[in-house]
């Protein structure tokens, strides 16, 4: 409160206008995010003004160009040294531009680009009334099974809104791991979540299941967001600041008094611990770690498969990025408190994901539980609290996302009359009917299982090595045991595809357009290259492995 305040608690004299400085925004360093947000807004305008039949192509163009341009911007920034020597804080302290942020943004943009190809696929479903259709509902607002829906289908509507939604989600994901204060973190969380809730509800087939998944995801996600927000409030009460760096200093004890208004609560450890717990809980929800994983199987199963692939890869990358930054930048001074808890979460996540996956009979649910187990493996690297912990997690995330997108892209190909044939029994004998598709899927499964010469092995080795170096040898042992358990169900799918007799009324493998083919090919290529010659990418992740604060 300024000295010129007059006789009232409700009014205060404003400082002279001349004192307000324009905020300094480093547009160049924020270019990737700005490009994506801009393109998303253009996408909305395209929805409004471009005629219906040209929308699909216009949206695809906008999205591809935006993602590619944003990726180019990330590469340019990294080449300019913003990941290493010039790393710094931008946008008045709201955004960090450093190695991990750029690495993760690059990963998110590339996965989003590959995911976009699966979004744009229009050859898998048979044409409806002479119109080519994609995986999304003709008209999301039409009640499933209603006359309105039939009309929408007859008219050949397609939900081209998914493209701007995807871009908005990507924008949130780009900011999420780069956020450098808690408020930005929360805004990014919401920006990435809300479009995802919507996209989950948009499946063209099995619409009720899809809507159910969206509602579940939304409700649980809203709870998680509320927890996060509560945690942020408590941390603010503890430290008197939203900024990561300041909170870290208060935790360390190097800064004693920040805000006299909070003198009553500042430095109260109860606030710190509860606030941390709630904040981390919100992030663990997003990565799907046990015990905050309950939404994963239902949502992964119900959502349109391209969306599932996108969620399982890009969201995870963004959320782990944010988690890393919180734990490594804000709370390193508290690691003796959070490490035991995270140990427990990691162990339970690895084991529960692997064990429960064994009983699954639906391929999408199986991949969902497998993603839970993988979240556990990544957490093992997260809690190493060493530079190699950061770089191993970065590498794992990059390796894992492409395998995931590729695997879900293959799932979209195996179809019967009811759309995608996701029940495992229908995959029997796929290796006889379509050896190539089955072999590609086998490659992805082997990568998930962490068999050498695939990217999954290199990633797993990196995180386990980091964990062992960080003194978490028991975690490594639990990790390899759950890997062995997990291998069982990946192998089971391979057995089913190659060694079982095909069913007479089994599904067919649709021949996709070059879009999905590209997505799958990129997935296989990355899986093999990162498996056989990971050195360049490990170096990249290693160089990027330092946070700025």
């Amino acid at each position: 409160m300024s000295a010129t305040a007059v006789h009232s608690l409700w009014t205060t004299a404003a400082d002279p206008i001349s004192k307000i400085d324009a905020p300094k925004i480093e547009y160049g360093q924020l270019a990737p995010t700005l490009i994506i947000v801009g393109a998303a807004l253009v996408g909305v305008l395209v929805e409004a003004f471009v005629p219906r039949r040209s929308r699909y192509h216009a949206q695809m163009c906008v999205a591809v160009v935006a993602l590619a341009a944003a990726f180019a911007a990330v590469v340019a920034l990294a080449a300019d040294g913003y990941g290493t020597t010039k790393a710094g804080i931008a946008a008045m302290g709201a955004i960090a531009v450093d190695g991990p942020a750029l690495f993760l943004q690059g990963t998110i943009l590339l996965t989003a680009l590959v995911a976009l190809f699966t979004f744009g696929e229009r050859r898998l479903d048979p044409e409806a009334h002479g119109n080519r259709v994609d995986s999304f509902a003709a008209q999301a607002a039409a009640v499933p099974g209603s006359e309105g829906e039939k009309q929408a289908v007859r008219a050949g509507f397609t939900t081209t809104e998914v493209f701007p939604l995807l871009l908005f989600a990507v924008a949130g994901m780009l900011v999420f791991p780069a956020a450098n204060d808690l408020l930005t973190l929360f805004v990014a969380l919401e920006v990435l979540s809300l479009p995802l809730y919507l996209m989950c509800a948009l499946a063209r087939r099995k619409r009720l299941m899809s809507q159910e998944a969206a509602v579940k995801y939304f409700l649980l996600g809203a709870f998680a967001s509320a927890f996060t927000l509560f945690g942020i409030a408590l941390l603010y009460g503890y430290s008197g600041s939203m900024s990561y760096a300041t909170i870290a200093q208060v935790v360390d004890g190097t800064v004693q008094d920040v805000s006299p208004a909070l003198a009553g609560t500042m430095g109260n450890d109860a606030l710190l611990l509860i606030g941390t717990a709630l904040l981390v809980m919100g992030l663990l929800f997003k990565v799907g770690a046990v015990p905050f994983h309950m939404w994963t199987p239902d949502v992964y199963q119900g959502a349109p498969t391209p969306v599932t692939g996108f969620m399982a890869s890009a969201t995870k990358v963004a959320a782990f990025g944010a988690l890393l930054r919180i734990l490594y930048v804000v709370l390193p001074g508290l690691r003796w408190d959070w490490r035991p808890v995270m140990w427990a979460v990691t162990i339970v996540t690895m084991l529960a994901g692997a064990i429960v996956a064994i009983t699954q009979t639906d391929i999408k649910r199986l991949l969902a539980y497998s993603s839970i187990a993988h979240a556990g493996f990544i957490l093992a690297g997260v809690i190493a609290t060493t530079p190699s912990g950061i770089s191993s997690v970065l590498f794992y995330l990059a390796a894992y996302s492409f395998v995931t997108i590729g695997a879900f892209a293959v799932v979209t190909l195996v179809r019967d009359a009811g759309g995608e044939a996701t029940h495992l029994s229908k995959w029997a004998g796929l290796g006889r009917r379509s050896p190539l598709v089955a072999a590609v899927f086998a490659v992805f499964l082997l990568a998930f299982a962490g068999i050498p010469l695939t990217s999954g092995f290199a990633g797993k080795f990196a995180v386990f090595k980091a964990a062992a170096e960080g003194g978490a040898a028991p975690l490594v042992v639990v990790g390899v045991i759950s890997s062995a358990i997990a291998a069982f169900f990946y192998i089971r799918v391979i057995v089913l595809m190659f060694f079982s007799e095909p069913r007479p009324e089994g599904p067919t493998v649709a021949v996709p357009s070059p879009l999905t083919m590209t997505a799958i090919a990129v997935g296989v290529a990355v899986t093999v290259v990162l498996g056989v010659a990971p050195q360049y990418f490990l170096e990249l992740a290693g160089d990027a492995g330092v946070f700025v604060r």
């Binding site: 770089s391 006889r432 009917r433 379509s434 050896p435 190539l436 082997l446 299982a449 068999i451 050498p452 010469l453 092995f457 290199a458 080795f461 990196a462 386990f464 090595k465 062992a468 170096e469 040898a473 490594v476 042992v477 990790g479 390899v480 045991i481 890997s483 062995a484 291998a487 069982f488 192998i491 089971r492 057995v495 190659f498 060694f499 079982s500 007799e501 010659a533 990971p534 050195q535 490990l538 170096e539 290693g542």
Partner: protein
């Protein structure tokens, strides 16, 4: 830079695998010839390795070293000692015979499906396994070894699960179920072993900072790398567990009978004669080389397990009704001998164990491949379904007998030399163990001769009366191997010359000397 001979030896079959897999569905025969050609070319390269190798030279020869994954401290390092050379030669030698023996094993039943190319797949997978086995014999970088040690499970898994005997006593449906059960069991056992080893590999990195076997062994020997006793023991156990599953050692052996029973005879040979040798070889190279103190610490326990393997395998072999299962249990007994020889920590024991690996490879190949021919003729694997075969197919019966006699280590055939060396080597240090192990030989005589008697002698059963004798292709498979068995039985010197200096190095790793003979000690 000199020609990377070791890399070439491993890469050639890999190229062969890709080439074979790429052959169109209609050109099945071309795929077979291509596979045979590549396996023979690999054999030529292996012979070049054998010739270029100087037994009295450096410990690791023909070395290659390139940067690979610097972040993990991993280098692409190859090098062979005498033991590795012998086993590479064995591998390269057996694969052409395996290919030839499996000539018709993977012909598709239905020819309508243009995309389904089992024949190409079968031979490509065999060559892929060969490539991976050879590179794991060559690798002197622990990580490099580990990668191929694990990766070879995948082609093997498809070989076991995808291709079985045409004839199955319970019909095709059951056969498929049992096959995939065997394949999954094989994979899970070995994968679990491998993953435990992965934890130990990571632990080794944390302790040593790199993966180079010569460097670590050197650092351990001169004291610059100190491992805490407990650490060393845990790491040893992690490695040993994986190798013991692969070898296989009792009680981790149960995948082998299933895998051998359900796969076709050539694949069964590939598993026991070639792939399992990687396990015993790795014990010798990595367990003893990296963890000498822990190896000595574990010796009593390992010897007991080995002896149990010998006796248990032999006893169960006696009781089998299925020919392939019988051979599988016999192999478990033999692997017990190999592991006993390695851990007896005497130079006779370890030379014997290395020779044993080679000889067991050849003798099992003979026995198993002929058993495969026999089974495909009759359409049954059960011993009781045969009888009097020697009257209708004398050549088949005769070679089968030679394979059997080799298995029971008849003097004059190659396995005798190695078994004798192993027993002598064990006896000088652990007489009780040696004595118990000798009973394994007695039991071996029982199970092989009873097998021969029940299947080949006696009245001719009506089902086998029309059984044709060995065809030219089959004789071409068996004859060279039989000749080799006799040759190495009478004159094992070429092999021992290569192996002995390498064994000396290993003995110096563990800082053990042979016990002095009693007579000399008494003087």
């Amino acid at each position: 830079m000199s020609f990377p001979l070791l890399t070439a030896t491993a890469v050639l079959p890999a190229i062969g695998a890709i080439a074979t897999a790429a052959v169109p569905a209609a050109k099945r025969t071309a795929a077979k010839w291509l596979a045979l050609l590549f396996s023979l070319a690999t054999l030529v390269l292996a012979i070049v390795v054998l010739v270029r190798f100087d037994p009295d030279g450096d410990r690791y020869q023909l070395t290659e070293s390139h940067a690979w994954i610097a972040d993990f401290g991993v280098r692409y390092e190859l090098g062979v000692d005498g033991i590795a050379v012998a086993l590479i030669a064995l591998t390269a030698l057996l694969i052409p015979f395996i290919v030839l023996a499996g000539w018709h094993d993977a012909d598709p039943l239905e020819t309508g499906n243009k995309r389904w190319r089992p024949t190409q797949g079968f031979f490509a997978l065999i060559l892929a396994v060969e490539a991976m086995v050879i590179i794991s014999f060559e690798a002197t970088d622990v990580f490099l070894f580990y990668i191929f040690f694990e990766a070879m499970l995948i082609p093997l898994y498809f070989l076991i699960g995808g291709f079985g005997d045409r004839a199955h006593e319970h019909g095709e449906e059951t056969a498929a179920t049992q096959r995939s059960y065997a394949a999954v069991k094989f994979l899970l056992y070995n994968l679990a072993g491998g993953l435990i080893m992965l934890a130990a590999v990571i632990g080794l990195y944390v302790v040593a900072g790199n993966f180079s076997l010569p460097e670590i062994a050197e650092a351990r020997a001169n004291g610059s790398l100190d491992m805490a006793t407990n650490t060393e023991r845990w790491l040893f156990l992690g490695f040993f567990f994986a190798f013991a599953v692969k070898a296989p050692l009792w009680p981790l052996h149960t995948w082998l009978p299933n895998a051998m029973q359900e796969s076709t005879a050539p694949v069964a040979v590939l598993i026991t004669a070639v792939v399992d040798k990687v396990g015993t070889f790795a014990m010798l190279r990595f367990c003893l080389g990296l963890f000498p103190e822990a190896s000595k610490w574990a010796t009593p326990a390992v010897l007991v397990l080995a002896v149990i393997s010998i006796i248990y395998g032999a006893l169960l072999a006696v009781g089998q009704r299925d020919i392939k299962r019988l051979i599988a249990y016999a192999s478990i007994s033999h692997f017990g001998f190999i592991i006993m020889g390695i851990f007896a920590m005497t130079s006779q024991g370890q030379s014997g164990a290395t020779l044993y690996m080679v000889n067991h490879g050849i003798s099992t190949a003979v026995l198993m491949l002929i058993a495969g021919f026999l089974i495909s003729r009759r359409g049954s694997r059960l011993i009781a379904d045969f009888g009097g075969v020697q009257k209708v197919a004398p050549v088949l019966a005769g070679t089968f007998l030679i394979g059997g006699l080799a298995t029971l280590s008849l003097p004059g055939l190659a396995p005798f030399v190695s078994e004798f060396l192993v027993l002598v080597g064990t006896f000088t240090r652990y007489p009780v163990i040696g004595i118990i192990a000798t009973f394994g030989i007695v039991l071996a005589a029982l199970y092989t001769l009873v097998l021969y008697q029940r299947t080949m002698t006696g009245p001719v059963r009506p089902e086998v009366s029309a059984m044709p004798d060995l065809r030219v292709r089959e004789i071409a498979v068996v004859a060279p191997l039989v000749v080799l068995l006799v040759f190495l039985g009478v004159y094992p010197k070429p092999l021992t010359d290569v192996v002995n200096p390498a064994v000396k190095h290993t003995m110096s790793d563990v800082q053990k000397q042979d016990p002095r003979p009693e007579v000399e000690a008494a003087k």
